[in-house]
Symmetry: C2
Subunit: 523 residues, 2 copies
């Protein structure tokens, strides 16, 4: 280790960039500060690294999450000391729950400066650990490349993880050894366990009512078709977790419904089930506890077994199970037709119908519609084939940034962001990045001017109907938010829809033109 | 402890509200979620508690900070689980550095639900500790009132601190003992140490060049006058820390300059100083480390001694020192006159001159002007008496929320927010709260469309001039932000100033009318 200042091109920051690039990490979502200036200077020397600025750190990590879900590879993020990391944590939490690979670089003070407790000093490790699978403080310029490779290794370990590197400023500006960048050790996912496959086959042959509960890679089109074949052969039902990083769905693909969010609906969905076979999923849990309601919708006496853990090769496990059972994918039975385009009053349902009809092939839906979107699956099973990305960790404010990342990952695909208004406000700065990068995203804001979910939850926990103080906390209708102006303030074209026809016209226009466009749907 | 659901009015959440109110905590800045619904229901039963909604948690803690700086008392905040806390941490960090009393209530899952690791579960303690002086997880409904009183006690311990209470949902909804609310144990600040006073007097009599470095309560008008008297008597110089929670200044008050932020200016300010006497302040530290520059501007051989610790009674310590030295406050020498109102090109300097001339008596300035405002003190020493609130922790995004809290604390005083554009974006949601509560705030946005400070720092760390990738990270001029539209989207009236005359006209209008108004100053 040395604290000699490195020459341009030979600093720790250069080694960091070189190691990221050598490991196919070539997008950096950034919101830097002073302690990261040498990293910024190094980025100037590496034009292969695509730098994308977010005007708030929640945009940065949410975008990295969207990018990872669509590419299977990590982006780097660049964050500034403890407070910058703190601002990014909510969406890092969502990424952690999505098992999205991600490599965060958090700049910190020079190591020798830390004991002075300058104003921006804080315990970065304590902040990072709850939302990271891997945390490592870089020990000096010579440690930059090995630490970075280790972070990529951890991020790429199946099913994917969040790595956080802490980069002291003197590790960034110090002279680094001029050696080849360290390489991550990439491993293939663990093969399916033959005993588990045999046990699952026995369960499925037993004649009980069985749900095959899936997430992760099991929700891509091919493994879903395999799972559907198993279900068809055995009378089982396939389901997806309540929240999932990505589902490939739409016309010609196997239909899969999610476990509902509301506690009573979740319990109803699993009523009378004898067996649940987990494929990368966890045993179902209610999102929040409620007085006198159970913590899980799994009925008493239901046997929960594991076919494959999250880090296993889920498609291979399903294939092996299908082979054991002699299940062969047949034609997918067509989904129920989408109702005719609606007119008149604009509602979440009429919006869903329009989206179902007009979604272009290969679109990506980033869904943070919260209450408004709970019924959306029903109207879009038969839409053109598309990917559906959920809010995975319950930390609101992911939809707009997730769309940014998905659009950067897949520049040739239309991204549609179904977005609750309250949640949109948390990371509204993402609109600016959409404009800056001219991303092909249509944002649909469900403008009900309240935390509608919380009005429901207030009743749900038995706390009654909102009174004066509660309405002051749960409603934001006075003054109303104007998302058309908000989008315009950051350079995104926008329009308001008050009726179903207006929405259909605007959505049709947005599907035909490229670039960011926001529709404020007054529901 | 019991997990019986309490009747309305007799829950743990009711006990929380009652205990806060019994300890004079009667403002709650809130951004709740499902796990806090019983607290929200309890708030409905306590109309004495003023509830203020922020559409993002950074607004909530920043507002509580501003409220505390102006009242000396804590507000409560209401935050939702780990991610909601995470969103609030950057401004909690600033509050911690300001020693602002604050009582955060973080809702969590019911205790029995935690082992299920539902999506929103995270290690709240690990997140809270770095930015809190006191962290406590409530153990059950019977623990709510004692824990809350303890949190207030910790928050009010001089010089003030950040308390974070973790409230499991079942502690909120469970039946609480129907006893009188627990009371905080308030203590007066520690008296000045006679030995330190004698030592400081000796130092001041020794004839060396001495700086009396102050922060906290020492920067109120009366102790500043005392400090000035000491300086006049002994030839010492009074200075304030680089960043301070609150300074009372303006015409007729003792002039105090801060240690400059830029490293070379900070070193120059303390050049040739033989002694520094700390009055609640810490020994000066450079904000960031730079290659080949020291971590502190204190010259070699300079003796740093302590007159009073942050938790001591700072005004009393200064008075005792003045008495020892026989220093009596005399007339304050008038500050340099403010230059005439400028015309033509709009610059930070012309803005400062206008503000200096037109600031109404008793105004509160919330300063997050970053680079644009470094020279503002010079033009406002002779303005009408006012309070000046700084960014204390370096975590940007405090200015707008701080203004919200100051305006709620002091409804009869005009608040002027001097606000950098990049920093404003982090917590732009505060504009909505200004409109909702019709707060008397004039926001001045310094619109230079770049992280100007980072261009300077890029040079400062020796990393050179920004190239293609660096400009993509440091500039946000393409597209430009439109703060007039942004304010309008949240219900705040706004206008743009392109010239000094336009700015003066708009600022004059804003000073004469009540309610929120934003001026986008195109510098």
């Amino acid at each position: 280790m040395t604290d000699t200042t490195g020459k341009p091109g030979e600093t720790g920051a250069d080694a960091l960039c070189d190691t990221l690039l050598a490991n196919d990490v070539n997008v950096c979502f950034a919101n830097p500060g002073t302690s990261e200036m040498h990293f910024v200077a190094a980025l100037d020397r590496k034009q292969q690294m695509r730098c994308v600025l977010g005007l708030f750190e929640g945009v940065v990590t949410g975008a990295a999450d969207g990018y990872a879900r669509m590419t299977g590879r990590p982006a780097a993020t660049l964050l500034h000391t403890g407070p910058g990391l703190a601002n990014s944590l909510a969406n890092m939490h969502n990424a952690r729950r999505a098992f999205s690979p991600m490599v965060n670089v958090v700049g910190d003070h020079a190591a020798y400066h830390l004991p002075y407790d300058a104003a921006l000093t804080s315990d970065i490790e304590s902040l990072a650990r709850p939302m990271s699978h891997f945390v490592r403080r870089i020990a000096g310029p010579a440690d930059v490349s090995p630490a970075t490779a280790e972070a990529v290794t951890a991020a790429m370990r199946a099913p994917g993880g969040v790595s956080t590197l802490i980069l002291p400023a003197d590790s960034a500006w110090g002279a680094a050894p001029q050696t080849a960048p360290a390489k991550a050790r990439l491993r293939t996912p663990t093969a399916a366990d033959p005993d588990r496959i045999a046990a699952a086959a026995d369960t499925l042959r037993s004649g009980g009512r069985t749900v095959i509960l899936m997430t992760g890679q099991a929700l891509r089109a091919a493994p879903l078709a395999t799972a559907q074949a198993i279900a068809d052969k055995t009378g089982a039902r396939i389901m997806a977790q309540q929240a999932n990083a990505r589902i490939e769905r739409g016309a010609g693909r196997a239909n899969v419904d999610r476990i509902p969010y509301p506690v009573d609906q979740a319990i109803a969905a699993l009523k009378d089930v004898d067996n649940i076979i987990l494929v990368g999923a966890t045993s179902p849990v209610i999102f929040f506890a409620y007085p006198d309601k159970p913590s899980t919708p799994v009925p008493d006496g239901c046997k929960v077994t594991v076919l494959a853990d999250p880090g296993d090769d889920l498609p291979a496990a399903l294939e092996a199970l299908a082979e054991t059972l002699g299940a062969v994918p047949g034609p997918i039975s067509p989904a129920p037709a989408i109702p005719d385009l609606a007119t008149g009053k604009l509602t979440p349902e009429t919006i869903a119908i329009t989206v179902g009809h007009m979604l272009p092939e290969n679109a990506i839906i980033c869904d943070e519609s919260i209450t408004s979107g709970r019924d959306f699956f029903r109207f879009t099973h038969d839409a053109a084939p598309h990917d559906w990305l959920n809010l995975t960790g319950g930390a609101i404010g992911v939809g707009l940034p997730l769309s940014v990342g998905a659009a950067i990952a897949c520049p040739d695909r239309k991204v549609v962001n179904l977005q609750a208004d309250g949640s949109a406000m948390y990371t509204n700065q993402a609109l600016w990045t959409m404009a800056r990068e001219q991303l092909d995203i249509c944002v649909v804001i469900f403008a009900n001017q309240r935390y509608a979910i919380l009005h429901g939850e207030l009743k749900g926990v038995g706390a009654g109907v909102a009174g004066e103080n509660a309405r002051r906390i749960l409603d934001f209708d006075a003054p109303g938010l104007d998302f058309v102006q908000l989008a315009g303030s950051m350079g995104v074209e926008a329009a308001r829809a008050e009726t179903a026809e207006q929405f259909t016209d605007l959505f049709a226009k947005a599907m035909k033109t490229r670039g960011p466009f926001l529709i404020e749907a007054m529901i």
